[in-house]
């Protein structure tokens, strides 16, 4: 793969290939499913990583998402983009994982993914981001999801709403509430 391919067409190509893989996988094509999971694993992992802040948790979640895809793929109806759907699946998994354990409470040891020593670039800003993440991770579930989708994943409220399965206005409201809380902390 040449690195200098423009990103946008590449994205479109990925989306198109995802869709064709999905339909083939739904029909039982093993290779297509394998390819689909392979193509999207990094996306799933990185999303899980951002949300949990822990590599080991992210790997667990990514694995479970992969297993789940085997059956859940049948329920993907193409009404939303595949990646949006995959976001939803992944985030649900994160949510369940965190709900089902007390980990979240013990998880105040912050975003520990990239050690500062390993990543000298933008040191200061990255540190800010980590601190911010810690604050965000303390928010109520819905608010946290809204903030992460809108700010960390850079989505607009409509996209976030689609993934969260609620109305756009609800997302805006969650964001608003979250900001109120955060303002005191930042």
């Amino acid at each position: 793969l040449t690195p200098d391919v423009a990103e946008l067409p590449a994205r479109a190509a990925v989306a198109a290939s995802n869709l064709s893989l999905v339909s083939r996988a739904k029909a039982g094509d093993r290779n297509a499913f394998s390819q689909l999971v392979e193509n999207n694993y990094d996306f799933i992992f990185r999303t899980a990583c951002k949300w949990t802040g822990k590599k080991s948790d992210a790997e667990d979640i990514a694995q479970e998402v992969c297993i789940k895809l085997a059956t859940a793929i049948q329920s993907f109806d193409g009404r939303s983009a595949f990646t949006s759907w995959l976001y939803r699946v992944t985030i649900n998994m994160v949510r369940d994982m965190q709900r089902s354990s007390t980990r979240r409470d013990k998880n105040v040891d912050a975003f520990s993914l990239v050690h500062p020593e390993d990543d000298p670039g933008d040191q200061e800003e990255a540190t800010t981001a980590r601190e911010l993440w810690t604050a965000v991770s303390e928010l109520p579930e819905k608010q946290r999801e809204a903030i992460m989708l809108v700010y960390a994943e850079d989505m607009n409220h409509a996209e976030a709403a689609e993934i969260m399965g609620c109305k756009e206005a609800t997302v805006s409201w969650h964001i608003h509430e979250a900001k109120k809380t955060l303002r005191g902390l930042l």
Binding site: Y41, K55, E59, D60, A126
Partner: protein, 729 residues
């Protein structure tokens, strides 16, 4: 609002969150697990799957069955992970039936039972967590072979403890309310439902799997395992032939040993190999045998024959024909011109592939003499000439060139193989031995896509004096059939390298044999004398069979023999008049007339071969006389007894119709008593391998389970299990 903007800006730094790359290992596990789950969800399992979903959708309020069903749903994947993870969990390969069985059950499950189950689960989890804390390092699943069940592939012990205990207690209680929520929410979107389900399940099913494993593997009947992707030529075992109607048997010799190393590798990983991966002749020929060597190149090889009692059948005998190739004195050694064509596709980026090749390469370079030349061409990744023809005396240059190779994504369209031959041809010298050595894990996108075209191309090059050998690496992508075919067409060997020791054997110990051809198109023909041999069966060589008329046809290609190679062929023969015949005598045929004993020979051996550069074949003959017969197996030579034990092992391993009567222990004992000097420990390793096979597929007599204990009557899985088979099966 300024305030809001500031928060906004601050929040936008969240975009800068950096995530590390996922570990390749975790990714591999996830992908494997996904594929297993996918397979489980496919047509065969379509019915159960729908049931699960129905229960999710309709029976959500029941709670208990749900939990069980989900546990069952994920049991399979998790079990697979475990098997894939800790290799020592032998004998319990992934088993779909376990899943199906427990799916039928949940409806009957009552609350009490569920409660007990939940408690058990919790305690198991605790127990397990403790075990984990005692085990100092178990970060990665692959690392410590003794960690029984890592709950999740990547957890620190401490973390695991917390999680295990909490999920054990919290989960079971929490699961029920969640079901109710689902029910309230009427028909929720399926992904949501399944999402929860799978989420809950792994934590609960992990201990179940653990128990199953600890129970000693009695639950599952071993099934042969073949990593998806490896391809083997299908073949039927040689049948027993009646001497009167078919007195002549013809085949091409085969000095390849790839099958044995492949089988060893799968067994050591705790799986039974695919029956088609077990080629008896390659198993037998893997081992060095101490046959007397010919003294001059005039007759490049010498045959050694013996007839010994068959270990697995008291009424038959084994005719063993051993052939040893001439070893030219070092002075007569011709300079070698070697071109390595190395697969650098992304899939070669595994420890047992390119890195292993790199490490082994030093071994090979050390065995070369200063006048030999080495060149390296790569394909499928970083493509092109990696090393121009370089004298072996420049060791540093060669080693740094191989060291600089790196696996890459796939780049098609580079004519790797043509380039390799071109580079090799350019380095041809007077009297050099020219050879291209293809090293790959199965990607043959060398520039010619059509296998037949590729074979033809290799044949053409062979005729111009450049031979081809193939080194196979890794599992999962291996195209054994094509590998064999290419090497055969290129007058070379196909070897499978699964570890450093094997690299040493192939490249160093047998380096000479594998690189210096002393005879080509070697064919063997045996004619049996019906007066003494009523039936015979050639063990192995199925993929090397030749028509009788091809024996004298010099146009028909056959196998090569390298310097010092040994080749062993074994016939199981039924002496006439013992009544052990599998075939009834013909009612109307001529066989009722006892053939005249015109000679006291059991048969006659003919070997045809060509000199490496010759086009006309020469013939070597030897009578198989009665004085070769040994009636007591104990007095047979160690080589003969050992070869017989390997044949017995291979036959049992592949579920052959013949020779399954021996127990693993008997085979191990036979081999153990025939180790001889075994300077390199190969025979000792073989004995260990027999023991591994015994663990994976226990003999019924050993008190372990067999198809008799299997409620399905052994219908599941293609294994023929062990021991005698039920009538009509």
């Amino acid at each position: 609002m300024d305030d809001d903007k500031m928060t906004d800006e601050a929040l936008s730094t969240l975009k800068l969150l950096r995530t590390s790359a996922p570990s390749a290992e975790a990714k591999k596990f996830a992908l494997n697990a996904a594929m297993v789950a996918f397979d489980a969800a496919q047509p065969k399992a379509a019915q159960p799957k729908r049931n699960w979903i129905n229960r999710w959708m309709l029976g959500a309020g029941l709670g208990v069955p749900l939990t069980t069903a989900v546990a069952a749903l994920v049991l399979f994947p998790v079990a697979t992970q475990l098997t894939a993870t800790s290799n020592h969990l032998v004998g319990v390969p992934p088993k779909k039936e376990t899943t199906v069985a427990s799916v039928d059950e949940p409806v009957k499950t009552d609350d009490a039972k569920a409660k007990v189950g939940a408690d058990a689960t919790t305690s198991t989890l605790k127990l397990q967590a403790q075990t984990q804390t005692q085990t100092p390092v178990l970060e990665k699943p692959v690392a410590p072979p003794n960690t029984t069940v890592a709950v999740a592939p990547t957890t620190t012990p401490k973390d695991a403890e917390v999680r295990a205990v909490t999920s054990g207690t919290v989960q079971t209680e929490e699961a029920l309310p969640e079901m109710d929520q689902l029910a309230d929410a009427a028909p929720p979107p399926a992904p949501e439902a399944i999402n929860r389900g799978i989420m809950v399940a792994p934590k609960q099913s992990a201990p179940m799997t653990a128990n199953a494993t600890m129970l000693g593997g009695g639950l599952a009947q071993p099934v042969p395992y073949q990593p998806s992707g490896d391809k083997f030529q299908k073949f039927d075992e040689n049948r027993t032939k009646v001497t009167v109607t078919e007195p002549v048997s013809t085949f091409s010799i085969d000095v390849d040993t790839a099958s044995y190393s492949y089988v060893r590798s799968t067994l050591k990983d705790g799986f039974l190999p695919d029956p088609d991966a077990v080629r008896l002749e390659e198993m037998i020929n893997y081992f060095p045998y101490d046959y007397p060597a010919p003294t001059s190149l005039d007759t490049p090889f010498k045959s050694t024959m013996a007839v010994i009692p068959t270990p697995w059948n008291p009424k038959t005998e084994l005719l063993e024909i051993g052939i040893k190739g001439y070893v030219p004195p070092p002075a007569a050694r011709k300079p070698e011109n070697l071109t390595f064509l190395i697969d650098t596709s992304g899939s070669m980026d595994e420890d047992n592939k390119l890195p292993l090749l790199k490490r082994s390469f030093g071994l090979l370079v050390d065995t070369l003499s200063p006048n030999d030349t080495v060149s390296i061409v790569t394909y499928a990744g970083s493509a092109g000439v990696a090393l121009k023809p370089t004298k072996a005396s420049d060791r540093e240059a060669i080693l740094s060139a191989i060291d600089a190779l790196y696996p890459d994504g796939s780049t098609d369209g580079v004519d790797g193989i043509a380039l390799a031959y071109k580079v090799n041809a350019a380095a041809k010298g007077d009297g050099t031995v020219n050879r291209v050595i293809l090293a790959t894990d199965g990607d043959f996108n060398v520039g010619i896509d059509e296998p037949d075209q590729l074979k033809t191309y290799i044949k053409t090059q062979r005729d111009q004096g450049i031979f081809l050998s193939v080194l196979g690496f890794g599992r999962g992508n291996l195209d054994d059939e094509l590998m064999q075919a290419l090497a055969q067409n290129g007058n070379g060997n196909a070897s499978y390298i699964d570890n450093f020791q094997e690299a040493q054997k192939v490249l160093v110990e047998e380096g000479g044999a594998n690189l210096i051809t002393i005879a080509k198109d070697v064919k063997i023909q045996v004619e049996f004398n019906p007066a003494f041999v009523s039936e015979y069966r050639l063990i192995g060589y199925e993929t090397r069979a030749l028509a009788n008329e091809d024996f004298n046809n010099d146009k028909v290609d056959a196998g090569e023999i390298g310097a010092g190679h040994t080749v062993t062929a074994i016939y199981e023969i039924t002496p006439a008049g013992t009544g052990a015949d599998l075939n009834d005598p013909l009612r109307y045929g001529s066989s009722s007339v006892a053939p005249a004993a015109t000679s006291d020979e059991l048969g006659f051996l003919k070997i045809r071969y060509k000199a490496p550069e010759g086009e006309t074949s020469k013939l070597i003959t030897a009578p198989i006389t009665k004085d070769l017969v040994t009636t007591d197996i104990a007095s047979a030579g160690t080589d003969q007894r050992f070869a017989a034990s390997v044949a017995a092992f291979g036959q049992k391993l592949k579920g052959s119709n013949y020779g399954e009567t021996l127990s693993w222990q008997q085979i191990a004992d036979l081999a153990n008593g025939a180790k001889g000097t075994d300077a390199n420990g190969y025979r000792a390793e073989f004995v260990q391998l027999v023991k591994v096979a015994a663990l994976l597929n226990p003999d019924h007599a050993g008190g372990a389970r067999s198809i008799y204990d299997d409620p399905t009557g052994g219908k599941i899985g293609p294994t023929k299990s062990t021991g005698a088979k039920p009538v009509g099966h």
